[in-house]
Amino acid sequence: MNRRQFLGSVSAAALGLWGRPVLATDMPPSKPYRIYMALWRGWEDAAQGFKDYFTNQNIPVELIIRDAGQDRSKLPEFVAEAKQLGVDLVFTWGTTVTVDMLGTYDKVDPTKHITDIPAVFAIVSQPDGAKVVPDLASSRRNIAGTSYLVPMETQVNLLQSYRPVRRLGMVYNPLEKNSLVAADELRALGRRDGFELVVAPVDVADGKPVVASIAPKVAGLKQAGVDFLYIPPDTFLNINRDILTGAALAEKIPSFAAAENPVLFSKAMFGGVYRYYTVGQLTAYKAEQILVHKKAPADLPIEPPKRLSIIINMPVVRALEIYPPMGLLGLAEVVDNSEEVRP
């Protein structure tokens, strides 16, 4: 796929909407649907998108919102409470909440997990890899959900459409399986597109990744001659995104992020992501299929939104002086807080 074709397909996707039915004729039920929302790190865009969908579609819902505050021990309480309240649907945010509350498909325990109440999940990076579902076509369980990671091939095409890359660098946390999978996929695509992947796992001490090793790893990649840095959807790197993107900027390496935070809230140069808000909306659409249209959750495929968001961080672009092609710029959302950054 060349750059122009790729941009064409992206623009088509950007304009495309989900084929969802208009529900104006559906009579609102007298009683609102009760949805139990189990969150991992507070109210954010995916939860907002989920909530707004019901408002926009005029579907009355009563949301029972619980935040674990990244504390795993709270999750069994949530399971018990949801069961006791007898809600219509459970919404789980993130891999941890989903796995702990819904169980994996090969280990479901009706005493510990929610089984009888239908559930939808969001922001699970690898629903099949994490064993939430056996395959993305169907959960074969009483749950449905969405994925939110952009397919690697799309990411690489997007990256190449900004600037052809010969040597792609990647810093990652070796303890996270996601990143290892990403590295393998990148290597395979590199063989196809003719670029080389140079990886730099962060140091691990006492079974924990070392924050201080991030910047030296980036410097090492610079020395290895990489011309683009790939930032995987890695929790450790997401937390330390300022250090990572700051180091990349200091080394004058343009960076591409697979998740929105490094571009939106830090100094990654650009990214191709599904916005959390959009993912939340799509998850709500799945919930609607179950609650309003009485579809079996197992009949709903696990899919990402069709609308890809290309985000360009303009202060970083200006600092690096590596400008995006006109065609890409026309399709991108631009982050430009006018606050100049310095390498």
Binding site: R4, V317, Y323, P324, P325, M326, G327, L329, V334, D336
Partner: protein, 703 residues
């Protein structure tokens, strides 16, 4: 072609048709074009402004994000996308504040640089004007729109039009109209010819014949005309008179008989007997009691259905390889070039099989029946070609269409060659070739225009409709006309015996080195390579069709005179030899130089070559295969020749498709041309000995 005795009436009607059709259409077209031109200029200006404003917005957005205008990335691709979506825009560019060209696509910077530099001062002045400034630069109309950044003017976006664009568009539309007009005149001519011959001149000829008999005292025949129009009325009155004369004769004879038997005077009886003898000697009346009907089969009976049928089949001529190219290629074990050639090759194979079979079937079932049978696969093949989803599927349906095509054409040839008869054989076949070529003419040009306007698939549906109309027309004619008399039964031995025709070296040489190379040239070069080359050099479908129509056009003109010439001088072998060499040389000529013109010359040469040799080839058959024609019937020998030459039709596109990836388009043309020229040279050498040895031409009179 022979128009019987109806020429002057037909010519007058045709002139009337031209007078009625051409001036109003010409006037209407002229007025429409004038309106079009008037509307086009402001339309183009608006379009330029719209495209320019859109580009300015995007460039200004980039500039606002802090990207310096001279450091914009991917502008070329960005422009390319806009240009491909707006073919009327010639070029797009961005200049800096000093008028220096930063980005330009679609024109050479040398053509514009000087004007832009001079303009740069003016542009600053026009900073306020959002509409920009329009300048004439050579043949281009340049619209410059200012691009503003945070600190004021940073450059300009240029949108350029070709001054010649409007006139070239107009010219092309005008050409399309002329082509449609010309084609409709040919259709009008064919219909007039049919109407006049079928309704007026044909019956009149019969009446004249009956009168001619009557002049000699022969009252046994009267014209068999069944029609409800004036001609039919006239015929009925004429026949009633004939019957009256007939019954008067019978009354007279009865009276004489009565006198002879009733009179006892021997002298008077003898006298009456003498008178009866005298009357019988001077006048002949039908013994059965009523004059029999006089009917004649005319070769022009099938002309219109045949014309419509060929017209339908030729519609896809100019775009078949391009249509194949547009479909997904499924079979990986063939090169894409061969895949594109496949529908043509399979079509030709279908024709080969069909004509082989058609020859036999025509002898048994009669021409009209075979014509009807052939219409079914033809219509189905046409319809399904339009619905095909892959090249493989298309090839299959083309094969079936080819089968139908062959049945229909063989039936017509057999019919015409039977009705033509005697010394007019070459003219009769010339009439067949004439109908085929004028249909090819209309089909090719209208097909190109249609495919361009409504797409490939709907064009096939139009073809299907025409095939169906042709069938309905034939059904109507069948009802009207007398049943076939040409159905004969033949034993199996005879069929096997026909293969001995190859022992006739004159026939084999004619097939191998004249008929086959002519078809290789036609299908390999003309049907396959020409559309592909023209398309690749950027010609549009109607243009390709207009160029390709040169072949039947030239062939039509040449074959008319070539047929006359061959009938008059009998120099058939020479015409075939010269034709073959001309064709091969023409193809080589097409590849020697670059561009469209040599290709055009090659097509014209091919038209001349085939026009010279096509009908002499058929007419030569009775000369060189007298014995075989006598034994197996001329129809079958002709069908055999046509079947064998189809081998060349099948080889042609495949050969060209094999050459194409090896040596490129021009190399492939050279290769095909060399093959054709070489074979034609061999024919010329061998055919010079046609006169040697036992010759059968002296026996032609016995035919």
């Amino acid at each position: 072609m022979r128009l019987d005795s109806s020429r002057s009436l037909l010519v007058r009607l045709l002139m009337l048709a031209v007078l009625v059709l051409v001036p109003p259409m010409g006037l209407a077209s002229f007025m429409a074009l004038d309106r079009f031109e008037q509307g086009m200029n402001p339309e183009l200006d608006r379009k330029a402004a719209a495209v320019g404003r859109d580009l300015v917005v995007q460039v200004e957005r980039a500039v606002a994000y802090g990207i310096p205008v001279d450091k914009l990335v991917g502008v070329d691709e960005f422009f390319a996308q806009v240009l491909s979506g707006n073919p009327e825009i010639r070029y797009l560019g961005i200049t800096g504040t000093d008028g220096g060209i930063l980005f330009l696509r679609g024109a050479l910077s040398g053509q514009l640089a000087e004007t832009y530099h001079q303009q740069s001062g003016g542009l600053t002045g026009a900073q306020d004007s959002v509409d920009g400034t329009t300048t004439q630069i050579g043949d281009f109309v340049d619209l410059a729109l200012p691009v503003k950044g945070r600190a004021g003017l940073v450059g300009a976006v240029h949108v350029g039009f070709d001054q010649g664009y409007i006139s070239s568009r107009l010219f092309s539309i005008f050409y399309d109209i002329a082509v449609v007009l010309g084609a409709s005149l040919i259709v009008a001519f064919e219909i007039l010819l049919f109407v006049v011959v079928f309704n007026v001149s044909g019956p009149m000829k019969l009446v004249a014949e009956a009168i001619e008999y009557g002049k000699k005292g022969d009252f046994t025949r009267m014209p068999g005309i069944r029609a409800d129009d004036e001609v039919g009325h006239f015929a009925r009155v004429f026949n009633a008179t004939m019957r009256q004369v007939d019954s008067a004769y019978r009354g007279l004879m009865a009276y004489i008989d009565e006198v002879r038997t009733g009179h006892f005077d021997r002298d008077a009886a003898e006298k009456a007997g003498e008178i009866a003898e005298r009357v019988r000697f001077l006048f002949r009346f039908d013994a059965s009691g009523a004059p029999s009907f006089l009917r004649e089969k005319l070769s022009s009976d099938v002309r219109l259905p045949l014309f419509l049928f060929i017209f339908a089949e030729e519609i896809s001529r100019s775009f078949m390889p391009l249509y194949a190219q547009s479909l997904p290629l499924r079979l990986a074990w063939l090169t894409p070039e061969v895949m594109i050639a496949l529908p043509i090759a399979v079509f030709m194979t279908g024709i080969a099989i069909g004509s082989l079979w058609g020859g036999v079937v025509t002898e048994r079932l009669g021409s009209r029946r075979v014509f009807q049978i052939g219409l079914v696969p033809a219509a189905l093949g046409c319809l399904m070609s339009g619905l095909s989803q892959s090249v493989f599927e298309l090839s299959l349906w083309r094969g079936i269409a080819g089968l139908g095509y062959a049945l229909v054409t063989v039936a017509c040839q057999g019919y015409i060659s039977k009705t033509g008869g005697g010394s007019r054989q070459s003219s009769g076949l010339g009439s067949y070739v004439g109908a085929v070529l004028s249909a090819a003419l209309c089909g090719t040009v209208l097909g190109g225009v249609m495919a361009d306007r409504i797409g490939f698939a709907p064009t096939f549906f139009v073809s299907t409709g025409l095939v169906v109309v042709s069938g309905i027309l034939l059904g109507y004619l069948l009802e009207k006309a007398a049943p076939d008399q040409d159905a004969t039964t033949e034993s199996k031995d005879d069929q096997r015996g026909l293969s001995r025709i190859f022992l006739n070296w004159r026939f084999s040489v004619l097939v191998l080195f004249a008929a086959i190379p002519a078809k290789i040239a036609l299908t390999g070069f003309f049907f396959f390579l020409v559309p592909l080359m023209l398309w690749n050099s950027g010609h549009e479908l109607p243009e390709i069709a207009r160029i390709m129509v040169l072949y039947p056009l030239v062939m039509l003109a040449v074959s008319y005179y070539a047929t006359r010439f061959s009938d008059q001088w009998g120099w058939r072998v020479g015409q075939i030899a010269v034709g073959g060499i001309l064709g091969g040389a023409g193809i080589l000529l097409a590849a020697l130089f670059d561009g469209t013109l040599p290709l055009l010359v090659g097509i014209v040469f091919l038209g001349v070559a085939h026009g010279m040799s096509a009908s002499p080839q058929l007419a030569l058959i009775p000369d060189i295969c007298w014995v075989e024609c006598h034994h197996y019937g001329r129809t079958r020998v002709l069908a055999l020749l046509r079947t064998l030459e189809r081998v060349g039709s099948v080889i042609g596109p495949v050969l060209a498709a094999i050459f194409l990836p090896l040596w490129g388009a021009e190399g492939a043309i050279v290769a095909v041309g060399s093959v054709v020229l070489g074979m034609a040279a061999i024919f010329a050498m061998l055919a010079s000995r046609y006169g040697d040895g036992p010759h059968l031409e002296s026996e032609e009179g016995a035919l």
